[in-house]
């Protein structure tokens, strides 16, 4: 199979899954779920094959055709998108296994719709990861918003309706009001929307068509328009999305949806503006002109700290994890805004590191809910004795989120910190450090208390969640540590995105 064919095969597979899930339906849930798992495994295999080509320097591309005159749906795979696709497709397998345990353990309704929407979200994630131009990326982005709405409102009650309203309201309005405008503006200025190494706005033919100040405004339209990156003040949708069943929160609101957001921001920074353009364009006069993206750096820094602080106040585990995600996403936005080669690689790396770590934490939250019916952290004292595997996994993943070795997150945070130093943003370096401390403060006590504190009324007997839930979360927990030992490899595969500039 040529890599070109692998692209469309990879994107076709989730669609096949949707069709199969609907055809089989509620008649035989076992066959329905094994189809999903079978396709997820095939998809992962296909993406690894594709990764082999891409990481060794290939840039396979595939054109679907023109959707509108002059606007093509086309796909080109580059390392950043490949890494994202690998993470999403790999975790889809584990999440499906986990979802079987969770959804059945919990007697959820409408499981056919659930698995179908799940597959369509994966389709959208892949389409976004492989997108060759902003137009394709936008289409995939919006498709993802729509296809995840039924997942967020899965329970169909008043709370779900409210959550869904905020979810759809914020994501749709930001993308229509800002993102779409930014894309159309880029198109009128540059005449193309293709992701180009070095950035299409940095090309010589753009000179004079857009002023430095306008560039900064355009960056703002992108940063706020890509609401999935959850930069404050457009972050409210993410906690609202937590009304969804936990597998959704795990794969979509820790991995696929939010990562599409930050991934898009990285893509815009690298391939639309070009990191050199961002770091060399200065606003203001005098001795110390500021970088055009400085405001975004500080906004990301503020989001990192504020979200961490809010996370500390949340007693509901999923809500705390949601705010932690907002904070961690801002790291990646920060990497894009700092626009040095180390910072964008750090950002790209954090997509993978945070994904594996955070999905573990959400898996644990769901397992605790299924196994012990607890959602509040204050009720989890002594739970470590009943659920040692779950809580152990939680501890390992926490290391990665905080950025402590041997957690994978240590590397990405290291490169992001390098980026702040290289650009002289020492306040942001301080923000990163403080945030790590805050991470420790709001995450570590959970497993510690679970193991150390004597249980109040909590059951002392060993009672884990179903195996279908526990096994995936153990795998991802081990994975989040294992990634620490592959830091160098990930750095190497991502290196081309930063050096192919010019």
């Amino acid at each position: 199979m040529t890599p070109e064919n692998l692209i469309w095969i990879a994107m076709l597979l989730p669609l096949v899954a949707i069709a199969l899930v609907f055809i089989i339906g509620e008649k035989s849930p076992n066959i329905r779920e094994s189809c999903t798992i079978g396709i997820a495994v095939t998809l992962f295999w296909v993406t690894t094959r594709l990764a082999g080509f891409v990481f060794s320097g290939g840039r396979p591309s595939f054109k679907m055709g023109e959707m509108l005159p002059g606007f093509e749906i086309a796909f080109t795979v580059e390392p950043l998108g490949m890494l994202f696709a690998l993470v999403a497709s790999g975790l889809w397998i584990l999440t499906t296994v986990y979802a079987i345990g969770y959804m059945r353990g919990h007697h959820e309704k409408n499981q056919t719709r659930f698995y179908a929407c799940f597959a369509s979200a994966i389709f959208a994630a892949l389409a976004a990861a492989f997108a060759a131009n902003l137009f394709t990326l936008f289409v995939a982005y919006e498709l993802m918003t729509i296809s995840t709405y039924p997942l967020v409102t899965h329970h169909g009650d008043e709370k779900a309706k409210k959550g869904g309203r905020i979810y759809l309201g914020i994501l749709l309005s930001t993308s229509v009001a800002f993102f779409m405008l930014a894309i159309a503006w880029t198109w009128t200025v540059a005449g193309t929307l293709d992701f180009t190494p070095g950035g299409i706005l940095a090309q010589p033919n753009i000179d004079g068509k857009i002023s430095d100040f306008q560039l900064s405004v355009l960056l703002g339209l992108f940063a706020f328009g890509i609401g999935k990156a959850a930069i404050m003040p457009f972050h409210r949708w993410l906690p609202a999305a937590m009304v969804a069943p936990t597998p959704v929160s795990a794969l979509l609101h820790a991995v696929a949806v939010v990562k599409v957001g930050v991934f898009s921001i990285l893509k815009v920074s690298i391939y639309i503006f070009g990191i050199d353009l961002i770091s060399e364009t200065r606003l203001g006069e005098g001795a110390n002109p500021i970088m055009m993206s400085d405001w975004l750096c500080y906004l990301a820094g503020a989001t990192i700290l504020l979200a961490s602080l809010v996370a500390m106040t949340k007693d509901n585990l999923k809500a705390r994890l949601a705010y932690s995600t907002i904070s961690q996403l801002a790291y990646i936005t920060l990497g894009a805004a700092l626009a040095t080669s180390d910072s964008v690689i750090g950002g790209g790396m954090h997509i993978a590191m945070h994904a594996v770590g955070k999905i573990t934490l959400f898996f644990c939250a769901g397992a605790i809910y299924v196994g012990a019916h607890k959602t509040n952290i204050s009720d989890m004292r002594g739970l470590g004795r009943a659920m040692p595997l779950t809580m152990g996994a939680f501890l390992l993943a926490t290391l990665s989120i905080i950025g402590l070795p041997p957690g994978g997150g240590a590397w990405s945070k290291w490169f992001l910190a390098l980026g702040t130093v290289q650009t002289g943003h020492f306040w942001l370096l301080a923000a990163l450090m403080i945030s790590s401390l805050l991470n420790i403060a709001y995450l570590i006590p959970i497993p510690i208390r679970a193991f150390m504190t004597p249980a109040g009324e909590a059951p002392m007997k060993f009672k884990e969640a179903p195996m279908m839930c526990v096994v995936p979360l153990c795998i991802t927990a081990v994975g989040s540590v294992a990634l620490f030992f592959f830091g160098n490899e990930i750095y190497d595969v991502l290196l081309p995105i930063a050096t192919s500039a010019r």
Binding site: G65, E142, T153, G156, A177, A184
Partner: protein, 496 residues
């Protein structure tokens, strides 16, 4: 036979209508009406497919123009005729069950005859190259639509029809006055002939007055804000089938006549440079979009909600037309087509609700997502199209409009247009939440899913909004060709 197609598209339904009144057997009339509609659709398809060999000019009775009446088929008219007859055919296929319930049995053959006449009038407005003929067809379609609306079940239907009749007649009269003045100045009624003689008299005040009368007359028929007051009641109280057809086609054909007026008879230079019609149009469109969308949000009747949305959507078409470049015109024409599909489809969904639930109040639709899953899902898909989500037809027109606004550096227009489309999210999603997340009303609880005979046509239209959202060769592509030829014509007019 082939060369007679341009006239057959009018003659067949026009002759069939009175014949059907004479037949009177409602089953037979229904069958024959469907046959006629699909035949006409077939003719328009073959006319459009002939456009690649250039426009067709058909001289009625062999009288050469400008002495006789000519029928002109070019990309634009063929395209508009195609979707008018296409929706006409699909709606009449969908109609029987709904008409059975909403229209009194004794009126059925009259109903179908009026339906055919209405379609004839709309098609005639598209095809004719004679200005007075446009007026005649405008009146044919208007009078028959007054009749159709008055057949609605409630007693408010005749009142709504009367209201429409009064305002609509004012509009038609204005249009006629304009034609009279034009005839006085140029001595001809043939559009191309008028265009070639206008140069000499363009600067006269009479021309300005004629243009103003015709524009306002058409604005009334288009239901441009603030001349839209007839529309919400007419749409709400008409039988569902009538609303589907009229909402999808009638206002668009008036938009079409307006495009002809500006780009073929007069010139864009006259309309947009001598007169500040472009900025006035933009202002009216944008205000209309916001006001009507906001009004839609507060409606309690689903049909009236869609009616206000229609008033808003006309604004997007006029925005595109007022840009007077190929991009804007393409966007406007594409949106005529896309909106015809989307709004036609949504009203068909509403017709399904009307049949099974018997009420169109939003509170009675609560929880219908459970009992009528297919119908409700069609609403979601059509609604996404109206909002303009990617991969739906609505996105295509929105994107075209946005890019051409930005290429003209009309920043406020671009921003306001995007913001206004968020209002559509509110009124569409309000209904979605009512359908899916509310405890079922007693009417919705016992409702059955709509019959396949209605669902299949509905899904064909709703599905086509997805098809034309992903694949635009035959929507934006044809609109682009039409826009180019319109601007080409007007440039030649400028040279003469």
């Amino acid at each position: 036979m082939i060369e007679q197609l341009p006239v057959l598209v009018i003659v067949i339904p026009l002759m069939a209508a009175p014949l059907f009144v004479l037949i009177g057997n409602r089953k037979l009339v229904l069958l024959l009406t469907q046959l006629v509609c699909w035949t006409v659709f077939g003719i328009t398809v073959s006319l459009l497919s002939r456009m690649q060999y250039g426009p067709i000019s058909y001289e009625l009775g062999g009288w050469p123009s400008p002495y006789g009446i000519v029928y002109n088929v070019d990309y634009l008219s063929a395209f508009v005729m195609l979707f008018v007859s296409g929706l006409g055919a699909i709606v009449i296929t969908y109609a029987p069950k709904s008409v059975e319930r909403e229209v009194h049995h004794s009126k059925h053959s009259l109903f179908y005859a009026s339906y055919l006449l209405c379609m004839t009038g709309l098609l005639g407005m598209c095809i004719t190259g004679d200005l007075f003929n446009v007026f005649v067809f405008l009146e044919i379609s208007s009078l028959s639509s007054y009749a159709l609306i008055s057949l609605g079940k409630t007693r408010r239907a005749p009142l709504a029809a009367l209201h429409y009749l009064i305002i609509g007649t004012v509009g038609a009269t204005f249009f006629l006055i304009g034609i009279g003045l034009l005839y006085q100045m140029t001595g001809t009624l043939n559009m191309a002939d008028i265009a070639s003689r206008l140069q000499a008299v363009e600067s006269s005040r009479t021309m300005l007055v004629a243009f103003a009368f015709m524009t306002v007359g058409l604005f009334i028929k288009m239901a441009v804000f603030p001349l839209h007051t007839w529309l919400p009641n007419a749409y709400t109280y008409a039988p569902s089938v009538v609303t589907c057809f009229i909402a999808a086609t009638a206002t668009k054909v008036s938009v079409y006549a307006f495009i002809r007026l500006i780009y073929v008879i007069f010139t864009p230079q006259f309309a947009f440079e001598r007169l500040p019609l472009d900025s006035a149009l933009m202002a009216f469109s944008l205000v209309g979009i916001f006001v009507a969308s906001a009004a839609a949000i507060y409606q309690t009747n689903i049909k009236r909600l869609l009616a206000y949305s229609s008033v808003a959507q006309i604004g997007y078409m006029l925005l595109g037309i007022s840009m007077s470049n190929v991009g804007g015109l393409t966007a406007g024409i594409t949106h005529m087509f896309n909106h015809a599909l989307i709004k036609g489809g949504l009203f068909m969904v509403v017709g399904c609700f009307a049949l099974r639930i018997g009420s169109l109040k939003l509170e009675d639709l609560r929880g219908a997502g459970k009992t009528m899953p297919l119908t409700s899902f069609a609403w979601v898909v059509g609604g996404l199209g109206l909002i303009g989500v990617p991969m739906t037809a609505g996105f295509v027109s929105k994107w075209l409009l946005l890019t051409s606004a930005l290429s003209l550096e009309l920043w406020p227009v671009a921003v306001l247009m995007l913001l206004s489309s968020l209002l559509a999210v509110v009124y569409i999603w309000r209904v979605v939440e009512i359908l899916y997340f509310s405890p079922a009303s007693h009417l919705a609880k016992t409702a059955k899913e709509a019959p396949m005979a209605m669902l299949i046509p509905t899904y064909i239209v709703i599905g086509s909004t997805i098809v034309f959202g992903c694949w635009t060769v035959y929507s934006a592509g044809i609109a682009h060709a039409a826009a180019e030829s319109l601007l080409g014509i007007s440039q030649m007019g400028g040279v003469q």
